[in-house]
Amino acid sequence: MSDPNPAIPAPEAPGDEAPLLDIRDLRIEATVHPPGERPRTQQIVKGVSARLRKGRVLGLIGESGAGKSTIGLAALAYGRGGVRISGGQVLLNGRDILRLPARGLRRVRGKEVTYVAQSAAAAFNPAIRLMDQIVESALEHGVASRAEAEARAVSLFEQLGLPDPANFGRRYPHQVSGGQLQRAMTAMALCPEPDLVVFDEPTTALDVTTQIDVLAAIKRAIRATGVGAIYITHDLAVVAQVADDIMVLRHGETVEYGPTAQIIERPRQEYTRALVSVRAIEHPENPPEGAPLLSVRGVSAAYPGVPVDVLSDVSVDLHPGRTLAVVGESGSGKSTLARAIVGLLPPREGEVLFDGRPLPPRLKQRSREDLRQLQMIYQMADTAMNPRQTVRTIIGRPLEFYFGLRGAERDKRVNELLDEIEMGRGFADRYPAELSGGQKQRVCIARALAAKPRLIICDEVTSALDPLVADGILKLLLDLQRIEDVAYLFITHDLATVRAIADSIAVMHRGKVVRYGTKTQVLTPPFDDYTDLLLSSAPEMKLGWLEEVLAHRRMESAGH
């Protein structure tokens, strides 16, 4: 792992014009406190080098823990949360900013290099108007007068496609949407006319239809201002749209570094090839057979005290051993549908049939047998498990509750389940904190399977996971479906996941099912407007995809 890879070429030969940013053999470490062990020093970045010329965009890509954000922040000589930069150089405009004293560093940050955070909602101060925050760096560093800075901000708002640019800055952060806030953050980064902007997962937290707009706005703004940029993301398809060069990182080391076209089209390393071909699971569609296992009929539901329906007249069927994918943006009612099915939110109208008979609307009215047959897996495996219970207790609980298994009998079944989720028996005595994200989700799957359910509702179960780990979870779910003949109601906002796993699809928008049918039916044109928007917004792993989609949309809006 630690020997340097000689096959990594630097995209730019030394000797051409002085680079804007030159990272040389960067080493970063942190003190970790593992449970039950002594604190120790861990290397997070192990000797990474990169160069960036003025006006170019470098993409940093890798799984969580690869060190990409840490490297991005090192370009501002900043270590987040006790992280220490222990070696190497970061040359910005020719001088090593790691050697600067605090005061000198403050003159670099916000003036020569700025930062766009993943969650703009958290990164804006809730107590200050947007405009005052956006022009703050420019004023602090004496780059412009207030009037000049505000004029520049307004023109950036315009470039970034924000509504009512002249008055946008008068609002407070909570008064604008997530996508607008992310664009405002980009404006904040560009306002002091820096030489370098670090974009740290700027579109990850956004809905897919919003992501494409923000991505296009960021790309336009980078081109228009001629600023250099580092673009950090875990989504190779996204970074392929904006970056000139891409660096693939894993465990704090460079796996591959080269021009975007080469990385996407001719990856040299095995790991890069895996990233490029991610989500290419082939799953032939199984046609529905026999009577539906779950039948949602005309369900409308509203939250208490809110006059608007969150679900209106939703009807879908799910057959035994099949997968129904419910897809839509946040706020479309996907999770509310799940809550209505499991009895957490009794429908205002309509009914839910399970195996041909109506389920009582309220959770409290349901028998233990009803509960057993219908299990759930959640997005945040972390919070879905009691951190003070071992894996054995977590998986064993439904065995005790539903089947009355005790002692050796229960442990035997726990071991079988651990085998089924491909984790092995050694994990039985571990605590959730000692598991990786993917392993945690596997334990949650085992817990759901322990009840021998006929239907599992999977609520965004792969959304919080890295692409390769998510792929593993999806493959596991498909295998388990074949073995256990369990049906999945699969809630997701990610179309690649839908393609990978679904037999039928329901597209939801504002509480209504706008399109429903088998996978082939739903994914075959002609589309309704919303499905078209949703499908065309999902990033594809090819160069120029963003421009194609935008051109296509312009033509459509022009009346073709």
């Binding site: 760096s137 560093h141 909570h174």
Partner: protein, 319 residues
């Protein structure tokens, strides 16, 4: 349509008034439970039964308690707090002067301690876990741990007796100029400041440190702002609510809880007045003082609530 914040504020203030009403009922009920008979205590042990009966009728003591309560409350709302039993003076008049003195002392102590607490809190955050922070914490904790009368006597001994900078007795009168008054109360103000400073300072520090964990503080750091500017401009406005709550609690203490200090420095304030009349079983005076203390407490806490609401941009500027 009414701004939603107006509705919230009206609710808070109405709640405060309701609370004050309940407190007045409690005060009245409490004094009724005290043993002894007011007429008896006025006329003394040797009074004839006829004289006692006459006085009871005159004072309205034969009316049912609920009616007496509303009579008392109604007069109190009109500024008539009755007459003191012990010396026959009009309570509102003698209380007014005392209250003015107490508020003067409290205001001077607040004018020193509140800004000082905020500044020291900000300095502690700026130099967190370094010597200025440790020093401020140690000194303020020591000052809150020592009983206030001890601090008072120590100050009297060194500052008043040995150094002769300020008088040891804080007597003030209308004839004095403002400068003379301030000089007279310098020592009690110093003691009160030491007593309330630590609590406010530590809450300021804790509230700001809590906000310093937020992502927007990192944004401010990455803008290259100076640490003190980050604390004052980005952290403090988001820490206002908890800080104001503690400030108001301490201001209330400055008005209501300074009996010991007033006695030590022989200051003619509310506390001493109350203590004197409790000793004399002067029920109307005790009731009046209780009512005013309750009003100050509830009033200041309502102010804290109102400021917290106004400090929240989500409420001030709804979507």
């Amino acid at each position: 349509m009414l701004h939603p914040i107006v509705k919230l504020l009206v609710q808070r203030i109405a709640l405060g008034l309701l609370l004050l009403f309940a407190a007045s009922a409690l005060i009245f009920a409490g004094t009724q439970l005290l043993p002894g008979d007011v007429a008896q205590s006025i006329l003394g042990q040797s009074a004839t039964p006829e004289a006692l009966a006459n006085l009871r009728a005159e004072l309205g003591l034969n009316d049912p308690p609920v009616q007496r309560y509303f009579n008392w409350l109604f007069s109190a709302l009109h500024g008539d707090l009755g007459t003191a039993l012990s010396n026959g003076e009009d309570i509102a008049q003698s209380l007014g002067k005392r209250l003015g003195n107490t508020l003067f002392l409290a205001a001077c102590a607040a004018a020193v301690s509140v800004p000082l607490a905020l500044i020291l809190g900000i300095v502690s955050v700026r130099y967190r876990n370094r010597w200025p922070d440790r020093l401020i914490s140690a000194v303020s904790l020591a000052s809150i741990s020592i009983p206030e009368f001890l601090i008072a006597y120590v100050l009297i001994f060194y500052v008043a007796v040995q150094l002769r900078w300020f008088p040891s007795v804080a007597m003030i009168s209308d004839a004095m100029t403002l400068g003379q008054k301030l000089s007279a109360i310098a020592l009690p103000v110093a003691v009160l400041t030491l007593v309330v400073l630590a609590h406010m300072m530590r809450m300021t520090r804790a509230a700001i440190l809590n906000v310093m964990q937020s992502a927007y503080i990192e944004t401010a750091e990455l803008k290259g702002l100076a640490p003190i500017r980050i604390i004052a401009r980005h952290a403090l406005p988001n820490a206002i609510a908890p800080i104001v709550n503690v400030i108001m609690l301490n201001l209330a203490y400055l008005v209501v809880g300074v009996v010991v200090i007033e006695v030590v420095f022989v200051y003619p304030g509310m506390g001493q007045y109350l203590v004197d009349h409790v000793a004399k079983r002067d029920v109307p005076v005790v009731q009046a003082c209780g009512l005013i203390f309750a009003a100050v407490y509830i009033g200041l806490n309502t102010v804290a609530d109102v400021v917290s609401i106004l400090a929240n941009p989500r409420l001030r500027h709804p979507k």
